[in-house]
């Protein structure tokens, strides 16, 4: 039939495509395997030494570097060194190249207002590795999307089993009911054919006991469900809204190990941990205009918001427009939560409440932020009782601690579970 034919053709196409992809990917692996370690090393050297000003493909403070070897080579031999050799001199200490009188070096030195740093500690082989990376910046990056797609697939599959189990169980239940009905019917037919007089039996579902049992079950289940649902009103654990800019904490905090408080500066000072203002972003993104995943797309949104003209490297007056982030962690108005109390005085790690943010591509609400959750933590977490002088006024507790009446001082010990610590 037609539809069958169609299905078959789709199947065969997808098989072909799959094999083709596999082939391409494996060929990539095959051809590239030999210089991959050097390339990786070059990449990391580039990131740590050069990326602040340079991008392989785009102009930053320094020029785009792809093709730099060819350009230097084209400048020709000078004082017995090839163009590539002069490039090495330039990279390590450009002053030497200029002092030697190399025309191209002089030209390059005058082409930019900002002077390049010197990297005298770099060895020639390091420079070569950097150049390898610079010239083939995308060489091994292509593998990444495939890997990402694979993890995505795993993630979606994770949600699967629950639903199929339900379907299976309901199917079984349905089967049981059908079988009961069928056997009943058959019994009746058999009885009729035998000519037996049927006694009218009260069906089980009309018995008082059954009704009472069902009612009780409904009340218990309904009650449980009601309480459960009601206590979860307003809770948003797992809430992970789409943000106007696809900012990745995994990249910034995970890969680049930027400290949480570099951006969220007020977490240890005041009530709120601030969402960084755009000038904080621009500290780095003046230079870094391209990300590994979305390229320039997302960073361009920062530029648009802050009014940065990436071409002229200037801020444009009146162009700025604040970013409207979607707030993830919402507490009711009658809860007075103070970040400084926890971060600064309590020395609580950000991750304790916010979870492994450094692995989150998109941030989600890790903790339930329910009162029970707060209270449990307050019962178990110790305060900085010995190290913070503030607590010296708690003479009696110090005494108890000394006499081993208590073995630890938790937040609850100093009154941290009382109403008006958080509600006022």
């Amino acid at each position: 039939m037609k539809s069958e034919h169609n299905q078959r053709s789709i199947k065969s196409y997808s098989f072909k495509a799959f094999f083709a992809t596999l082939l391409v990917v494996s060929s990539l692996f095959a051809s590239a395997q030999d210089d991959k370690p050097q390339w990786e090393e070059g990449k990391s050297l580039f990131k740590s030494n050069c990326a602040a000003c340079h991008n392989p493909k785009a102009d930053g403070t320094g020029p785009a570097l792809a093709g730099v070897t060819a350009r230097w080579e084209a400048s020709g031999e000078f004082k017995g060194k090839s163009g590539t050799q002069w490039l090495r001199v330039w990279i390590k200490n450009w002053n030497n190249a200029v002092a030697s009188g190399n025309k191209y070096a002089v030209e390059m030195a005058n082409s930019r207002p900002a002077a390049m740093n010197v990297f005298v500690t770099l060895k020639d082989e390091d420079v070569d590795k950097i150049l390898l990376y610079v010239e083939n910046a995308d060489k091994y990056n292509k593998v990444a999307p495939v890997a990402a797609a694979a993890t995505d697939a795993v993630a979606t599959e994770d949600k699967g089993p629950g639903a199929s189990l339900y379907i299976f169980v309901s199917f079984l239940v349905l089967l049981v009911i059908i079988l009961i009905v069928v056997t009943n019917k058959l019994d009746t037919i058999v009885a009729k054919s035998k000519g037996e007089v049927l006694t009218v039996k009260t069906p089980f579902y009309k018995t008082t006991n059954f009704k009472a049992a069902v009612l009780l079950a409904a009340i218990v289940y309904g009650g449980y469900k009601t309480v459960d649902v009601v206590t979860h009103f307003g809770r948003q654990q797992g809430y992970s809204p789409a943000q106007p800019i696809r900012f990745s904490h995994a990249l910034h905090s995970g890969t680049h190990k930027i400290d949480c408080q570099y951006c969220h500066q007020t977490a240890n000072k005041g009530k709120n941990s601030n969402i960084p203002s755009l000038n904080t972003c621009m500290n780095c993104h003046k230079q870094v205009s391209k990300g590994p995943k979305y390229g320039t797309e997302e960073i361009a949104k920062i530029y648009a918001a802050v009014g940065w003209d990436a071409y002229n490297k200037t801020y444009e007056d009146g162009k700025a427009k604040p970013v409207e982030w979607v707030r993830i962690h919402n507490l009711p108005d009658h809860v007075a939560f103070n970040h400084a109390t926890h971060v600064n005085a309590g020395k609580v790690k950000c991750q304790t409440c916010h979870g492994p943010v450094e692995t989150m591509e998109t941030v989600y609400q890790y903790s339930p932020l329910s009162m029970g959750w707060c209270i449990n933590c307050h019962r178990n977490t110790e305060v900085q009782f010995a190290s913070n002088n503030y607590y010296s006024v708690y003479a009696k507790i110090h005494e108890d601690l000394k006499n081993k009446k208590i073995d630890k001082v938790t937040v609850a010990t100093v009154g941290g579970t009382e109403c008006q610590r958080c509600h006022y």
Binding site: G270, N272, L278, P322, V414
Partner: protein
Amino acid sequence: MSEKIYWKGIEEKEQLEGYRAIAEKEFAEELPVLGSITEAITTEKSSRKDFLKMLGFSTTAAVIAASCEMPVRKSIPYIWRPEEIAPGIANFYATTFYQGGDYGAVLVKTREGRPIKIEGRAAKNARVTKGGTSARAQASVLSLYDGARFRNPKKGKENITWDVADKEIGEKLKGAAASGKVVFFSSSIISPSTKAVIAEFGTSLGAGKFEHLVHDGISYSGILDANEKSFGKRLVPSYNFGAAKVIVGVGADFLGTWLSPVEFAKDYSVNRKVSKAESDMSRHIQIESVPTITGYKADTRISVKPSEELTSLVDLYNIVSGSGSSKNAKINKAGKELLEAKGASLVVTGSNDVNAQLVANAINNALGNYGTTITWDRPYNTKQGSDKAIASLIEGLNAGTIKGVLFYESNPVFTSPVKGLADALKKADVSVSFANRVDETSIACSYILPDNHWLESWNDAEPKAGILNTTQPTISKLFDTRQVQDTLLKWAGKEGSYYEFIQKYWESNFYGKQSTYSGFLSFWDNAVADGEVELPASGTASFNAANVSGAVSALSTTASSLGDVQVKLYESIAIGDGYWGDNPFLQELPDPVSKVTWGNYIIANPRWLNKNGYNIDPDFKTKEYAVAKLTVNGASVELPVVGVPGTPDGVFGIALGYGREAVAHPELGVGKSAFALLTSKDGNVTDVAKATIEKTGKVEKVAITQTHFNITLKDLGGIKTRKTVKETTLHEYKKDPAAGNEDRKEILEEMVTLYYEHDYPGHHWSMVVDLNSCTGCGACVTACNVENNVPVVGKDQVTRSREMHWMRIDRYYTGEADNPDVVFQPMLCQHCDNAPCENVCPVAATNHSSEGLNQMAYNRCIGTRYCANNCPYKVRRFNWYDYQQADAFDKKYGTSNDMNVASETLGLHEPLTRMVLNPDVTVRSRGVMEKCSFCVQRLQGGKLNAKKENRVLNDSDIVVACQSACPADAITFGDRNNKESAVTKLLHDERAFGVIEETHSMPNVLYLTQVRNREEEKKYDVIDYYHEKV
């Protein structure tokens, strides 16, 4: 009766039937909330079906409401975060409050760039107000967010742009100057730079074409004119109440309204604090007619008629100059005491009669007070007005010599005793009002060019000579307004902003007079950061006795012309000259003397009321007041008559400033304007006049809080007299520091309990209120309202005893009703260790903290009100309505409940006005109980600061809102577990006592006995005023 009894009003004193009915009940009224629905429920038969229908409907409604999705909330960071602003951390800026003679050195608390609270500046940077604030300064932050502010310039009712305004008015002013004169009409201006700007503007119009007229709504013209005659200076000298051993006030409410009340309360209270180490205090005698808080605070209050206030000055003069004596023995004694304290005494009078002030000057001169308690080195700039200003303006307008008028910080159409200004203004070519909210003068002007609010402005201020203050903006201007000074500079054709002008002015005029800073910028920056700079003082004046004898005889003549029935028109603490009439916080602040909110009334002697048939509610059941018509010189007002103990027979008092007609909301125009009753004598307004009074047959409800929240009910459960306030005399105190408080020892000994005692391992918060210092002024109440988001409920709700104030000031009378002794007692949650409210809450919404706080968890409260019923201090407040629109459900599904409460009609729900709310304090919703929390947000903040700095908590880390606002330093707060804290020391003072301690509630708020500096003890009198037959 041997025991002294205390009463809040005649109704309590006589235990009238209606009073007992209120006092014995928890709430003044039955549940009248829903009106028709209540009726339907209680009268009509409801069937089972109806019940099921209602049940079904309400369940469905609740499900629909509850299943709403969580809203998506946005978090919008700064683009460029200013370095000093961190979300959630308050910033404080030093600036200066000034409005029509009221000056305050203040700090403004801002959160995320919006001002939310006013605090007093530290005393070192507040040489005049010394850290104190007034209720008006506290409430002024609400005016910033007033939705009724003008949002752009106007020509009549039409909105125009600034360009159009500049062009049109510029041309018209030129025209006006060509054909006549332009007048700049203002209240007293204390900003030297502003004065320079006005002068520049005047010069630009041409010589002789400009005049600056100054008029104060509440006139100080008399004292200024008198000083010109006595000293050749039209100024008011510095009064040092702190240096005076004997103070005689003659009708001068110097603790409430007169001249510089915050400063005087600070200085006065220094000498009124007694301790074992420092057991001397000043002696204060007040001679007055209409009662004021100053009179109520005095050691001896001599109750006289307004005319006798004048003659008593003559008597005092005769006594101190040795030329005679008074018929009144008390005045003779006062004169004698003054003579004994020569050079360390002080006589002040609030009269606006030039002769009265001349005689007062002569008395002080005879006593040698000039140079000691009165000095000319730093005269006040806050009062400069002349009562002739309005008359000359009207005259000039009518004659056509004045063609242009500009009104700044002045509302003469309302405050003028003479009519005709509004009509005369029509004759001007151009009339401009710089008011930023609607007032009577602005609607009579052809243009309105709204000025910035003071919190949005740059300015400077020199309240006293050589004390320079800066005003800096604490928020960007909210609307399309422009500061007056910038407007004038523009019209004068000057380049640059007013900010630059101030700097230049300071550089050329003040920088050279100081030596602390080198470099103008460092001088200026420090001045702005500190808010104040002191320049060297100089200036003396010699007394000219030439006018005294004339003044003495003129005063006697005036006094005798006033007749038997006299009226005194006074300034109210809250509303002033009417400028504050549109501030709901101040309208709802109970007057310290009469306890009336929302509107004015005629103050009368209670016995007079009864004798003359004005007491229409003898059993205090209907709570209605007779409306009387009071006429002065043909002008009359009709107002309810309220009896106030201490008012002499035949004397009436009316507060000025009420009855504003041009206000954004009719509720704010409550009362009647009494400015028309002011009369003039020798060009000066006189606040006392001969009057006639008659019945109108009308009745009116007055929102008087006197009988609300009673805690002193007699014969209740066998307790005869509850100990609420205690007092003694200095004489007794010196013999025994526990005088008046002798029974406390016994009470404490009797204390046994079945309950377990609370453990306070860390802090134990406590407060001590010195009754001797408290003047009852109400600054603390307003500060508490602003700090804790306490709602305004409106007149109707107040008449139903539903005011929400967490802090109230109970005013107790004792002694003879015609001239009683008064004790002011600030009453707030006592945070009892054995709190009776805690153990009756069925849901444990109110419970005890390990720091001694009686905590209130709003979200747990289900509104049974058991706690309020069981509270012996009656300090718990129930939200009968969603006064602040805290409930998201209401906001989302329609505008309001079935209510018509003031907070809604006054626009206090508007997003703009809600910007005044303190983000650290929950906004409470309908159906929950609330009360004083000891400013727990400040406690938590103070503790956090100590933790962050890794140190022990100090006394100075925590200053609660009422304590910070108090101009008399009556309130001390701290940790009683800390042996070194100020509060611990006071808690162990012999004067310390708890209110109704015999109930064993163990309050954490203790009071210090009131000590009066006099020997005689007043007799308790037993006259039944209300039922007395004439």
